[in-house]
Symmetry: C2
Subunit: 416 residues, 2 copies
């Protein structure tokens, strides 16, 4: 964990520039402290409080192996009428820690509930960091009063920094609702173990990406949940740094209603997608060691699901990701990855374009001039790769990063 | 392709040491030349001739995107009564090359057939190298006479070297049949784009691994085919360097019968598995930039197929492979990868052992002493990782390599 948070002070450079995000949203206060969970004494404990309570919705990793905080948050969200707080620690995932880990999560949220004079069931926990290490709950308990004392409606940036692990920058994004009458603020972390697959509580499956969405609009729970699931499915669940789905992925949306503005489902859905999309792009741009973000657009297959499978296979191909790192227009790897996805299409009809420049038509290369034009595109920090694989209506967009030496550096020595 | 074959002169250091392999097998002659397909003037064209013809069986990549030589070899094998030659080039995959690529393969095998005074349909082609570049058949044609003139029953080593691309060493392995009355010689290449998924001609799918198996035993075609498919399924189809299935993977077995010894199905199957297993281990050990070979043993699931899926997911996890590169006993990544495989098991019953040392029991770590013992295992060049995930009968073994900077070096600049 030596890197944990080490570089989490750089300004957000992708998606939503830090300076443009309004960090206040009605009904919410934020705080962060260094509790000593990370080895390097960086901030590692964050708290959000909705003083008047908030309508809540959440999606959690569908990995069979779920961390204790995921189990606790999912169960509390299932029964809660109203949520009052979210407690997030970085530096320790508290996953694969058995009964001791569960107790550590329960004792941590209890300490925060007591400091806030709340029912502990209205505090949702989330953790990120090393797997297999039990949360040092005594450090959380010792920091509870300091954390609560530091709550402020202008502390979202501090909260965003405290939840970082290998992130190079904190991730915030916002959208306005009702022409500025209400707002939606999103805060996320994530740079590695990023291949989220999240669903509602009780769904058969379960990524470490953490994201929290806060709005002061008035929203009914079903509307909030529907907007969240729809947005996550096309953003966080459609992005990959390394193909590894975490034990701890959690996205929670809270609506305080403090603005009094009632958002309709369409407007909320639109804003939710926009904020999640910005956060997902920021996470992929921050992929461990990554220099580029590629949007993989797959079109022309029979179904959306077929297109999703092909897009995911291309987006997670090591040979594709290393070629992108080398700025190499190795379109053969793109087509070969699509071909092993298990979805039927006719390779001899394939069209591939990179940055709008056609490089393959009818399954064969257009030659040197096209490759040269594409090479210039691949030097950019982000670009679109299109694979048109037939005449069907199925299409899907996946975000991926290149993969280079930085990824190996971070992950061959993560625990040392 | 600057690396192509550049290091293909080192001695085989894993599986079957070069010195122990007998390179002669009755009924077969081998040859190799530099035809100028590789940029660096290393040998890049190999030929095997069964002068009296041979019974043949083959499996090919199930990638939808199949190279021209795969299409041609699969079709010729489907109709052939007897195969007389295999022509293999390195340096160019001749994949995604359309009609021009198909013509190049046909013209190349025709030139060899003419030089050998054979029917061209009894010559099987195989190619490996860059995708998207058409085979320069004029160079093959210009080299045909030299190639045939160089045929010798002691030239298997030269053939093995000529078919290498990014391989650090040529790969040969052998077994005796009938107490030395007959033999099985295997020759393979492969170091990257290794995640074979091969099946019989006409099966719905389709890996660049090339392997050729030569025996002088008398074998019926159905027996040869059965032994080949069974062996490939548990060896080449159960190993991964990078999870990317090639457009060109091909395994062809030829039986000349020259020894007059009739091998039964059991004996042949045993020898075929042993040779393929040695070759697969050598390929994974030679995984681009790899220092370690890990055998992932998954047990206790409901079915063999469930165990295969979990073993494959663990074997292809980037976080697992980078941890192995760092010699880090990060068992949490092993369990997290198993948990996202889509197969049901109870994580709280999981047992994990590395090199025979238990590190996780009942889903939780056994602590520092176990981790220390395992760290010593992870420094070795090969070891076994066991995941016991329940009480079911399903088990499967997958071979994988660690992944480090060498892989990025090779693949971010493969075409430059």
């Amino acid at each position: 964990m030596s890197q944990a948070g080490a570089q989490c002070t750089r300004a957000l450079r992708y998606g939503a520039p830090e300076s443009s995000v309004m960090v206040r949203v009605g009904g919410f206060r934020f705080a962060a402290v260094s509790a000593g969970i990370k080895k390097d004494s960086k901030p590692d404990l964050g708290l959000v409080v909705a003083d008047g309570g908030a309508v809540a919705a959440g999606v959690f990793t569908r990995n069979l192996v779920r961390a204790a905080p995921v189990d606790v948050a999912a169960e509390r969200l299932r029964v809660a009428r109203s949520v009052h707080a979210i407690l997030v620690n970085s530096g320790c995932a508290n996953a694969c820690t058995g009964r001791a880990g569960l107790d550590a999560t329960l004792l941590s949220t209890r300490a925060i509930a007591e400091a806030l004079v709340l029912d502990e069931s209205s505090v949702l926990p989330a953790s990120t960091g090393v797997i297999g290490v039990t949360l040092p709950h005594e450090r959380v308990i010792a920091s509870a009063d300091d954390l609560v004392a530091g709550l402020g409606d202008d502390q979202a940036q501090s909260f965003a920094e405290a939840i970082c692990t290998t992130d190079r920058w904190p991730k915030l994004a916002d959208e306005s609702l009702g022409d500025g009458r209400a707002r939606l603020l999103g805060i996320a972390k994530g740079a590695g173990m990023i291949h989220p697959d999240m669903g509602l509580v009780g769904s058969p499956h379960q990524a470490t990406l953490l994201a929290f969405l806060f709005t002061d609009a008035l929203v009914r729970r079903e509307v909030l949940e529907y907007a969240l699931v729809a947005a996550v499915d096309k953003t966080f669940n459609a992005c990959s740094v390394d193909g590894d789905t975490s034990t701890n992925d959690t996205v929670i949306a809270l609506a305080s209603g403090a603005s009094g503005y009632e958002a309709d489902a369409g407007e909320l859905g639109h804003a939710m997608f926009a904020v999640c999309d910005k956060l997902a792009r920021s996470i992929v741009a921050d992929g461990e060691g990554a220099d580029h973000v590629a949007e993989i657009h797959v079109r022309g297959l029979s179904t959306t699901e077929d297109a999703r499978i092909v897009a995911r296979t291309v987006a997670t191909s090591l040979l594709v990701k290393t070629a992108l790192h080398g700025k190499d227009a190795n379109w053969g790897r793109l087509l070969a990855a699509a071909g092993r996805a298990g979805v039927r299409f006719d390779p001899s009809r394939a069209r591939i374009a990179i940055g709008g420049v056609d490089i393959v038509r009818d399954g064969v290369t257009l030659g040197g001039a096209a490759e040269k034009a594409v090479a210039a595109v691949l030097a950019q920090s982000s670009y679109v790769i299109e694979l048109d694989l037939g005449g069907g209506p199925g299409e899907f967009v996946y975000l991926t990063s290149d993969l280079g030496h930085g990824y190996v550096d971070v992950n061959a020595s993560y625990r040392s």
